[in-house]
Symmetry: C2
């Protein structure tokens, strides 16, 4: 799978890949394939909107010698991206937009200090990014704004002729997802959700092991975002908590599925020739933690105490795939529980589980036990992803979530400079993100199944699996 030659003609190549991907899907795991055509007890979807352009599952753009980069949003997250982009060869930061001028100026200065001297700042309010998109000669725009701006700004970026790179989640609703898919297809611009966790060392190694079939036929995965973020409620005027808290007030479901789910989807080749999400069911616990936190930390009558928190402290969602596999995805940013993304992948031959990392491979691991701690070293020695072997040391030095941010940005720029398809296409960003609104729908309907839209309009079956690249 990782050995396919570089195509000279993309369409011809995808036909070839399609044949091989169909071969995979027709194999041992195809037992439940028939389920794809059923309605799973829920009303059939309305027909997907007609495509207004060509499929972009393996989109490439002309090679860029230097990638001219603009940023919308340089707060807690976007500022980190600027900082790391400055370390990358072949980039030129050209414009920075933020509604908070001091943030924009801070990163403008950092750019200048690093030799990126032609940075224009846009800090003229909520819609000044439109002026940036119109006036600046940019190749790509990195969007790290509050969630509700992601899809709109990404679509406008593509319409302005730039490639969009968007923080997670890429969109909040099914409609926003279709907006991105249709806009990317019509404009033939990249629209990549920047799921950095796909570039973690363990995640990359496990992807490599899945491709080598160490776990046999995959049957089940688990993913989570369990991260106590109640402290963010103290951000009132600005900062992540100032807007993110409101999602807990107005929505009930999995608000943030992609960090855990992205890597698991890659292990299973979701939307990439082998499998796709079919439907989900979702359940939330009572919402008690944020009210209690507010009571303890804010005066009576405070905004945070007046709010009624709707979002269950922990949400658990089960995804069924077209091949019949199951994926459990959890979200909990409210209870005092240690950080966990679960990162579990399980097959007929073995299991990897994260937090802490442990591996059981039948015939390799002794007894019914885990290889963990020092016992993991032989796996890293043998299966570390080539990309991590190459970039790992540099990534650790650069920092950013254990190096994953740096590897992601490096890989984005590498693909752009070499005219390669990106590692995450717009359909993946949408399939992973749409878990949020679908989970909200299922929770509202007391656990009734909610069906995934097929953003690829059936083309996932002919899409190239993510290769294990070096």
């Amino acid at each position: 799978m990782s050995k396919q030659r570089k195509p000279t003609n993309r369409r011809g190549f995808m036909k070839t890949v399609g044949a091989s991907a169909a071969g995979i899907a027709a194999g041992a795991l195809a037992v439940n394939k028939g389920a794809a055509g059923e309605n799973h007890g829920v009303p059939p979807d309305p027909a997907p909107p007609e495509s207004q352009g060509n499929y972009v599952g393996g989109l490439t753009a002309a090679k860029m010698e230097t990638v001219r980069v603009g940023f919308i949003g340089v707060g807690a997250r976007g500022g980190g991206h600027v900082n790391q982009m400055l370390h990358l060869e072949g980039t030129e930061v050209t414009a920075i937009c933020d509604i908070h001028e001091p943030s924009a100026r801070r990163w403008e200065k950092a750019c200048k200090d690093a030799g990126h001297t032609n940075v224009k700042v846009y800090a003229g309010g909520n819609h000044d990014y439109r002026n940036m998109l119109e006036q600046e000669n940019l190749d790509i725009v990195v969007i790290s704004t509050p969630w509700r701006w992601h899809a709109t700004q990404a679509a406008e970026t593509m319409i302005a002729g730039k490639h969009a790179f968007v923080e997670v989640p890429i969109a909040l609703t099914e409609e926003e997802c279709w907006l991105l898919v249709n806009t990317s297809e019509r404009t033939q611009k990249h629209c990549m959700m920047m799921e950095n966790v796909c570039y973690g060392r363990d995640e990359l190694m496990v992807l490599n092991m899945c491709r080598q079939r160490l776990f046999g036929d995959l049957v089940h995965g688990e993913a989570a975002y369990i991260h106590d973020l109640r402290g963010q409620m103290k951000s009132i005027a600005r900062g992540t908590g100032s807007w993110r808290t409101n999602h807990h007030v107005h929505r009930d479901g999995n608000l943030y599925p992609t960090h855990g789910l992205g890597p698991v989807a890659q292990y299973m080749n979701i939307d990439r020739g082998e499998d796709a999400f079919s439907y989900l069911v979702s359940m939330s616990s009572p919402a008690l933690g944020r009210q209690a936190y507010a009571k303890k930390n804010f005066p009576e009558g405070h905004l945070r105490n007046k709010a009624k928190y709707a979002c269950g402290d922990i949400n658990t969602t089960l995804i069924k795939t077209v091949m019949g596999r199951s994926i459990m995805v959890q979200h909990d940013t409210t209870t005092p529980r240690p950080y966990n993304r679960l990162n579990l992948i399980q097959g007929t031959g073995g299991t990897f589980a994260g937090f802490p990392s442990r591996i059981h491979i039948e015939g390799r691991t002794d007894g019914h036990k885990w290889d963990d701690k020092a016992g993991l070293q032989p796996y890293y020695d043998e299966f570390d992803h080539p990309l991590w072997k190459r970039m790992g040391e540099e990534a650790k030095k650069a920092g950013g979530h254990g190096g994953m941010d740096f590897v992601m940005l490096w890989r984005m720029i590498y693909c752009l400079r070499n005219g390669k398809p990106l590692d995450q296409n717009v359909y993946e960003g949408c399939s992973w993100s749409v878990v949020s609104p679908l989970s909200e729908q299922s929770v509202k309907n007391h656990g009734a199944p909610a069906k995934f839209p097929d953003f690829t309009r059936g083309r996932w079956q002919n899409t190239l699996p993510l290769a294990v690249i070096s």
Copy 2:
């Protein structure tokens, strides 16, 4: 909750408890209480059958000086029960029934060696247990037969005027559960499912911690039976695998939910004054592992190779409670994954998770970390359950799943000899076991919710929580 005085009049006492339990339910956690009355998108249940007797949620029987014990089934599991029963003061093993005469004779001899000299053996085929029930003067019957016999034999035991103690699961279908409930109510005989895991050291400690509100308001739990039992497929003529394998051929769902779920249900006071199961949704992975195992381990054309395995290798079920809490329950006896019961309980104040055991209590644990390994000792020192403190050393010596089997049997005999209510009533056995057929129903309906019957007919709201007894 654990401080209530011993009642002199049971009915009067339950009224008092009812008031206090209603107080709990009306408290902070009652946010989703309204959901109990809704139909959750599934057709309403048929009205429960009318009770043919009095509620047995806190049933007591007259004190027994010596408990005369009969056994139906003394194979892999029942034999262990005989062995441990012989160590307990105040018991007299009186009859042993097994369709496999050598097993019956083996345990007859063990009984005689231990001074239980009046043991009658019944080994005359599938229905010889009826002769035992009719002819023997027994107080209790311990039933450790293949699953499909549990409910029938328990009901016949009660009809014959004996108390029934049944291995897990207590029943396989909703109808069998009603049979047990109605028979217990009509005959006023105990019908206890022997969920031994409720007597594990960690489970008892966590129960104690829940009662002391160390985890705050409980919002979520996780339970599992992950145990690679493919090797049992090699039992063909007799032994557990000879009949258990067939369940994998004919059913798809959670075949064995109670080991993980029982303790979590106790933490949450399910069916005991505070909360009850409302509905579940369930999802199975593809069923690949047993076919693959058969292919590898049996000749072509062998029974095990001719079978088509229906049961997904791993099943994940989500239970919603009346108070809105969520419980995830998994079943996997097929993939090569290390043993796990999850045993997770999570509240607004902290989390306990098992396999390996770890605890986080806000304000007590440093940072966003787990107290684990040596860090657990202070918790054992402070919160070990009084029953474990008293019995632990003896239990470890007696063996049987780390001592839990011994503590369970000791406690059963203690309650019978002292005329106390048992720790697990018939409603709990049924609520925990009915997860199997409901999960099968949900899996069959592509994840559609399945509603729990209320086996207590509303009386759970007035039932005494399991006390932390010494």
